[in-house]
Symmetry: C2
DNA sequence: TGAAACCCTCACACTCGTGTGAAGGTAAAG
DNA sequence: CTTTACCTTCACACGAGTGTGAGGGTTTCA
């Protein structure tokens, strides 16, 4: 599949797909004319990258973390250095905090909306 | 309280506090010599701004939304135009989606950590 | 009085994730 | 053959956040 199809299937712009490649998060094949060629698994992979980005992880961290979190469920332990594990733990905790803040603010907005509706 | 104390109490740098002011998110008093003066409520206010920013709302939206979400719990209905309400609803839903993604990715990382620990 | 620790504005500059468009090559269909 | 829809790289620009520094005022305390 070429970049346009992947973009359509993941909802990620071509631009961003190229950016993720530039950042070393994905490395598609190239065919003779230079076009990028993506295999099926890139759909999942790209979706996961988006998820992690939305989670607030910078590409720098994602680059380190992705090899561990590889899809499908065959977890790779190869590169799980203690530093990496500590990093992952910190990120997981940061995500928990982010979720809490997010939920709290969503409740605040939700409560406001309810209050206005019942006014 | 002056900017240094607020920075210390909220964990937000002076630089950013000035930036939020520049963006119209907070408007501290000034005393005669030009120093910014913050009342107690700014601690909450600034924390909430950070929360909303972390939640992915741009300052542009926060600026519109903050007057409605004012602390403490005395909700202001004054500026609740239908457009604003629709905006808030959309943002709330976007936050829900973001929370889901975040939670899913946290689980993925958590599962990985558990798997590595139990190896 | 002087030094330390605040504060002010202004401004340059960098990162990061994105959008957008230019200039050009390629492929498929009329 | 030409049009259309892809693809390529390159580059400028934005918003949000952030660091840093210059140049200058104020407060506090020894």
């Amino acid at each position: 599949m070429r970049i346009g199809e992947l973009a359509e299937r993941t909802g990620i712009s071509r631009r961003l797909l190229r950016y993720y490649e530039e950042q070393g998060l994905i490395t598609p094949e190239r065919c003779a004319n230079g076009y990028r060629v993506y295999s099926e698994e890139f759909v999942d992979r790209v979706t996961q990258i988006r998820g992690l980005l939305d989670a607030g992880l910078p590409t720098r961290i994602i680059r380190q973390v992705l090899p561990c979190l590889n899809r499908p469920r065959d977890i790779h332990f190869t590169d799980a250095t203690p530093e990496m594990l500590a990093l992952l733990e910190r990120e997981r905790d940061a995500m928990s905090r982010r979720i809490e803040v997010l939920a709290r603010n969503r409740e605040a907005i939700g409560a406001y909306l309810v209050a206005v509706r019942d006014r």
